[in-house]
């Protein structure tokens, strides 16, 4: 901080640019990519295309929302991809009792995994990255043990969930939008939201001022597990099959990218809900752009790597 205060005037512009980039960079990037596609990609401005893109991005958005809350408390949840796989496995296992019961069982399982991670972090004091790493490994294994190979299903109710439209919008997208509003409300307008940001900003001070730090932490991980399970159920219903070996694989990377690019600092104390959604959209658009211009998958990953570094670098410039 002192460095910048004492820095010569020439530095001011650069710091301001970094601050602007962190605040609005993700919106500007999404807009720029949209414009690029409108001009250069044939058939981009078609309803069918937008539908496909939105349907594909919905599970990433839902998972990223939960992760944004966790990162807001200066934590991390690496287990989200495995929780998606577990939810998918449990839905198929319990489908015999009807779709609603199967879905509820899957959500409970997701919340339970979140509770385990939260308890390890809040009560035992394990670093979030290790606690959720153990869950990443163990829960993916559990999902594979429960459903060893790709299992298709024909339950009409569950298939409808993935393919139905409401007011012209796919139900999956509507659910993602509703959850976004819900999480935004949670962060901006509730006591829990304020406590969450306080715990992420300064845990010691939060504890001293009497906030229920442990309860907040556990709740945050439970929400993250729950949302990952929702994403898993929706992805399963789209696939019309459960595939625990590959469903949600590396999802934690996409979700972390979305959150970080969206401007939520890894050091906690701030949650940007809309930014997170934009971050997820940015990655999706980027992939779509590269695919439509016949550039290989490998490019997406390399570009994604550069974007993560740039986003974190910009965030650092602001705090420093």
């Amino acid at each position: 901080m002192a460095e910048i205060a004492a820095a010569p005037r020439a530095w001011g512009g650069r710091v301001r640019l970094l601050a602007w980039l962190q605040e609005y960079g993700v919106y500007a990037s999404v807009l720029a990519l949209l414009l690029f596609n409108v001009v250069f990609t044939p058939h981009f401005l078609e309803v069918a295309n937008f539908r496909t893109q939105l349907i594909q991005v919905a599970p990433v958005v839902i998972t990223s929302l939960g992760l944004a809350l966790v990162i807001g408390t200066e934590g991390i949840d690496l287990s989200v991809g495995s929780v998606m796989a577990l939810a998918s496995a449990i839905v198929v296992l319990y489908l015999g009792y009807g779709a609603p019961i199967a879905i509820i069982a899957a959500l409970i399982a997701g919340a339970a995994v979140g509770a385990c991670g939260g308890a390890l972090v809040a009560y035992v004091g394990v670093q979030p990255i290790v606690a959720t790493l153990a869950l990443l490994v163990g829960v993916r294994g559990l999902a594979n043990v429960l459903v060893p190979q790709l299992t298709e299903f024909r339950n009409p109710a569950l298939i409808t969930l993935g393919s139905r439209s409401v007011l012209g919008l796919p139900l999956v997208v509507v659910i993602a939008a509703a959850l976004t509003v819900l999480v935004a409300f949670l962060v901006k307008r509730t006591t829990f939201g304020r406590q969450l940001v306080a715990v992420g900003g300064n845990r010691a001070a939060s504890r001293l001022s009497g906030l229920p730090v442990r309860r907040v932490l556990v709740t945050v991980y439970v929400i993250s597990g729950l949302l990952a399970a929702v994403a898993g159920v929706l992805a399963t219903s789209r696939l019309q099959a459960s595939d625990p070996t590959s469903l949600g694989l590396l999802m934690e990377l996409s979700a972390i990218t979305a959150v970080v690019v969206g401007g939520t600092p890894l050091t906690g104390g701030r949650v940007r809900v809309l930014g997170t959604v934009m971050g997820a959209l940015l990655i999706q658009l980027l992939q779509a752009t590269l695919i439509k211009h016949n550039l290989p998958q490998s490019w997406t990953q390399m570009v994604q790597a550069v974007i993560i570094l740039a986003a974190v670098y910009a965030a650092r410039g602001r705090r420093a």
Binding site: I76, L120, V124, G125, V126, Q127, I129, V130, A131, L133, A134, L135, L136, V137, G138, V139, R140, G141, L142, N144, V145, P148, L249, L253, I256, V260, L266, P296, Q297, S298, W299, T300, Q301, M302, Q304, A305, V306, I308, L309, V312, Y313, R316, A320
Partner: protein
């Protein structure tokens, strides 16, 4: 200052109650040699339960299949002790295998040097970014993970092209045996010794511990923090590259689908071995015990037969959780007593 007081109190308490001192010593022992003790216990159980477990053949299998993980884990131990983490090693491992197989058409030297140069360079860049910008190691190496996986796909025609090793000499490096064990095992042993000396007997090793213990204090003591950090990530990149190249030599091809999630196994082995992820404590003996423990568990699960290999993931995850919980409880007990 608080800790000084607590230390003094602890010592005074210990004099009054010798029982506490003993408990503390047991805690210390568990922290440092826990993995070794569990490894011994697991081997005993395995020997008692299965006739085909304690055979020289099976032991050799475990050691050979663990050697690649072990090489990567040596580098990871350095990084973790310095207070960092390297998530890019799995991608490094695969990329190195593909590059080695590709380079083998130009002979042994290219097959070995190409992956080492590329993975070393990427490790160096990651180290520079971490040390110079102060960005979180986990996010920098996460970007490295993605970038290198992309690079690997680009080199191998989107993963469709599996290069075959075209150099007999290079294949021999992964397959030749000496005294009943394959060459990678001997290379691993050599690297463990070298790494142990580097970590315990040199100024560089002391600096790695110092930075992990308290970076601020290390800066004040005049430790060249930037240089040490860069070196640590360079070592990790080089070793992951070497392990990947040796694995390609063993398989005689640059397989593109291995190594997904390998970083997790490596970190699990390091943590199970008693190295703290907060940095400043740990060592290579523990890491090797952790690697072997994972190998033995895998072998036991194979022996049981009915269980699929995904069951191994459940056990590894549960084990990792158990170990970190134990570490925290020991830590707490030591602070309280």
């Amino acid at each position: 200052m608080t800790s000084t007081i607590t230390d003094a109190e602890t010592r005074a308490d210990a004099r009054r109650q010798p029982g506490r001192l003993r408990r503390e010593r047991i805690g210390h022992l568990l922290q440092h040699h826990g993995a070794l003790m569990v490894l011994a216990a697991t081997v005993l159980v395995g020997t008692a339960a299965f006739d085909s477990f304690a055979t020289p053949q099976n032991a050799a299998n475990i050691v050979v299949s663990s050697s690649f993980l072990a090489i990567v884990a040596i580098g990871m131990t350095f990084v973790v002790i310095s207070g960092g983490i390297d998530l890019s090693v799995g991608s490094s491992f695969v990329l190195a295998g593909v590059l080695a197989a590709y380079g083998s058409r130009y002979g042994l030297l290219v097959a070995l040097l190409l992956p080492l140069a590329v993975c070393g360079a990427i490790g160096l860049i990651q180290g520079l970014i971490v040390a110079r910008t102060g960005m979180a190691p986990f996010i920098v190496t996460l970007a490295g993970l993605l970038g290198m996986r992309g690079l690997m796909l680009a080199v191998s025609d989107e993963g469709a092209n599996t290069y075959l090793v075209r150099s007999e000499a290079f294949s021999a490096l992964g397959q030749a045996s000496f005294l009943g064990l394959t060459l990678p095992v001997w290379i691993t042993l050599g690297l463990v010794l070298l790494g142990g000396v580097l970590l315990q007997r040199t100024g560089f090793g002391q600096n790695v511990y110092a930075i992990g213990g308290s970076e601020e204090a290390a800066v004040l003591m005049g430790v060249p923090v930037t240089r040490v950090k860069v070196l640590v990530y360079l070592i990790s990149g080089l070793l992951a590259g070497l392990a990947g190249a040796l694995n390609a030599a063993r398989l005689s091809s640059g397989v593109t689908i291995l190594g997904v999630g390998m970083e997790l196994d490596v970190i699990a082995a390091v943590v199970i071995g008693g190295t703290l992820l907060t940095g400043g404590a740990g060592g290579l003996t523990g890491t090797m015990a952790g690697v072997l423990l994972l190998g033995v568990i895998q072998s036991l699960i194979n022996q049981i037969g009915v269980l699929t290999s995904s069951f191994q993931q459940v056990v590894s995850g549960a084990f990792l959780a158990l170990v970190v919980v134990m570490q925290r409880l020991l830590h707490r007990a030591q602070r309280l007593s």
